[in-house]
Symmetry: D3
Subunit: 67 residues, 6 copies
């Protein structure tokens, strides 16, 4: 019954990588807490780099400096 | 003053259906808890089926099996 | 499969009222979008009035003025 | 280490305005609570006006009336 | 830089189990997407069973039936 | 009409500091985007240090090392 929300910057994660995240986190919750995978929900949000800030600045700016 | 966030898979909900969700949930909060509709906020997120997992797999995969 | 998060101020909603919100929003999603109630998840967050702001001030302050 | 999520309607906020929101909120958390800007994360969600409700109706409808 | 929010019902997860969830999901994001663990943020919300609904009813009710 | 959610670790923020965050972020949205303060909602979540992870470990652990 857990609900997991993963937010990452939109920088080309493939469908297969997203499938791997969903399977991995569902498995983790079963192993650690015995949660039923059948009702574990995982939602991935991919956020534009202009809309994600860290250290007070946009990821877009950081990427342009090679960070 | 309540804030409601509804997350659904992006599978063709129409503008009218979304209007109905907004009106319905605002009305529900007024009926059950006496909340003022004027300041009730509802945000609907439509999520790609590749980004939504249940039972450890993507909705895209489930849909391809007719689930 | 929808996920709904309802945030309200912590001002004494009863267990029965919360049950009514859960039943009501699950029913709404079935009626409007045909969503399966069995996998509809609803999470209610009750937030201290010191931690909720509207109009630039805390709900605690507004309540002290009778708003 | 704070995490801030800002949700606004998608109505043309520029990259510069979003940069200003990110810098402003990061600075605010440093001034008020002494939080380290280096690990302050800000995520901005821009939501279609059909998907945002207030007062029981979509922002799209309100905008069409000049509100 | 990812942000992960895990919501579970408040039913006695220990500090060690929560540590394991945090380590596990941070590791998963590094393995699958190459995300830097140093800036991966994980927030766990533990929700009262009265405030969590699935299948249109509270988890409290389901637990009382042994589900 | 914006909605802002601020998550911080629960480490003694006072009511006055929370009031300052609410006023500050509401003002920021008015200055940068012209958003109406009357309908700007701010919700602050204070999260136990056991439930907040960064760098793959709990804040509780980091604090015990003086970080």
């Amino acid at each position: 019954m857990p609900y997991v929300n993963i937010k990452i910057t939109k920088e080309g994660a493939s469908a297969d990588q997203k499938a791997e995240l969903i399977a991995g986190v569902t498995d983790l919750l079963q192993r650690v807490l015995g949660k039923n995978p059948a009702t574990t929900v995982v939602v991935i949000d991919e956020v534009e780099t202009d809309n994600w800030g860290i250290g007070g600045e946009q990821v877009t700016i950081r990427r342009s400096r090679g960070q």
